[in-house]
Assembly symmetry: C2
Homo-oligomer: 313 residues x 2
């Protein structure tokens, strides 16, 4: 099994990416091969720092880099030899089993949509994000930001995708699916969430527990939190900022430490034909390593086949 | 000046309401008269506990109560002698200058819409909520939950209403208005927020600073945070739950203490012809007292006249 990393992605690339890949290669030794995709002139000198530990990495050299600020679709099309474009081609051809990048999020989504493509039957792929639970373990929030405007049927599918992920990757037997709204009552919500609520009620594939509220993100009510990408993005950025404020104010706590993106690693793209994970721009080596571990878990679980199976009409 | 309280509203009413009213009457002595509206048989015995302090309160007796779980519109119509309906009639007739209740939120909105009515030119009144800022003071978030589905023009007006409130009640000279979105760039957002962004850009009445993100709720970027009621409600409930988790985990902090609803008091309804404030269902006496103080500040500032003036076309 091969888990690949975009060595050029992230605010601290390639240093942080290479360091994270070396860490992950140690942890995955005997289970999976870590593949590093990047510019030879930048990656090779860095690897020398790690001596024999770096020898475990497989290297693939690309010549271009999609920068963080570039227009995603344009850059992806014009830079066919960028680390992201090369990674997606290898993923699509089956040379690698998962592709991770802390680089340009938009370009990662473009590659997901146009190189790897959505699973047949999936209306719109979504980004999933892990949410630590007070009772222990993690829940999953879908969508974390890929789709700002959603139709009720999209929200329904986010619930199905999240439920499959919770089951096959997180190992939750019968994941509770909650629909984010502004009140628990069925009649509360926007026009879209109210319609989605009705779809969920008769959906035999998910264990729908009804509406949940902003206060239920971290509690035990739902394992799968369904919302549009606008709401999901706002919530996650807000949680992250509250964690940052706590750190600044010297409030140390085991639970809130799990809200830190570093512990979580990255955000898988669900509903596409292969395993792709997007990392946080400011990813440290630890975050990169955890993202690669996630990539391994996803690939190992066979989640994509489960999704394909489930969406076969 | 008369500031009235629904003695029957809130999960701990009438006890907490009466206790809060007594507190507020002491603080407002010489400035404003606190009026208590409620059921005589329930309110009178409670007042005896407070001895002479209770004598400062003006009493208005109503015979009915709208319960927390009741259907707002139906209950408001059928219970014409409920404390909420009586309060709104007194507000509309000018007998009182502000009306506060920690009772049924929906019924408070019904009274606002049908007894007091929206200011001419305002498309939809909104609920405002105060947000503590890391740099000190408070910002204001509009809408906190009255309108789940918004048109771009509504968001634009929320910015105008919030800006007037920040200016005339919070005393912020040139309030910075930020539009909540999932990215800072102009092109980021939902179809509605993208259109609202364009309206704000050419609006001469507000100091628009562009898109803000979930991470900007507590920082100094914007004094007025504009979002639809769905997003606002989710954010505020999430902030509240994170505060609750911190309390449970013995994390004490001066800044996060300000996120506590108790300190804030209540949420004014903006864009109606009088001063009405909705309190949290679980309001304690301190929260009730702070809500009444807010009611006084609103009435004293003449904010409603400012809004009427500003929306006169």
């Amino acid at each position: 099994m091969k888990i690949a990393l975009d060595a050029m992605g992230g605010d601290f690339a390639p240093q942080a990416a290479v360091a994270g890949a070396v860490l992950a290669a140690q942890r995955l030794a005997g289970k999976a091969q870590v593949v590093l995709i990047g510019t030879e002139a930048e990656v090779r000198p860095l690897l020398q720092q790690y001596g024999p530990a770096a020898a475990a990495l497989e290297l693939v050299f690309s010549t271009q880099v999609i920068e963080m600020g570039e227009h995603p679709a344009k850059a992806f099309q014009q830079k066919q030899d960028s680390s992201i474009a090369v990674g997606y081609r290898m993923l699509h051809s089956g040379e690698i089993d998962a592709f991770c990048s802390a680089g340009n999020t938009g370009a990662m989504l473009v590659g997901a949509m146009f190189t790897v493509r959505p699973v047949a039957g999936v209306l719109r792929p979504a980004i999933a994000n892990f949410v630590p639970k007070l009772a222990g373990g993690y829940g999953i929030l879908v969508d974390a930001g890929a789709n700002a405007d959603c139709k009720p049927e999209m929200l329904e599918q986010f619930g199905e995708l999240g439920s499959l992920y919770a089951q096959y990757v997180l190992g939750i037997a019968r994941p509770k699916v909650g629909l984010m709204s502004l009140g628990e009552e069925e009649g509360k919500g926007s026009a879209v969430t109210q319609a989605a609520h009705q779809l969920f009620k008769v959906n035999p594939h998910v264990h729908f527990i009804g509406n949940i509220e902003g206060r239920d993100l971290f509690n035990d009510k739902a394992d799968v939190i369904v919302c549009d990408g606008f709401v999901g993005n706002v919530m996650l950025k807000m949680a992250e900022s509250m964690y940052d404020i706590m750190v600044q104010r010297n409030l140390n706590d085991e639970f809130f430490e799990k809200v830190n993106y570093e512990t979580i690693g990255g955000s898988p793209i669900l509903g596409i034909n292969d395993n792709a994970i997007i990392g946080h721009g400011v990813s440290t080596p630890l975050a990169i390593c955890n993202m690669l571990m996630q990539g391994y878990q996803m690939a190992h679980s066979g989640i994509v086949d489960q999704i394909k199976d489930s969406f076969k009409s």
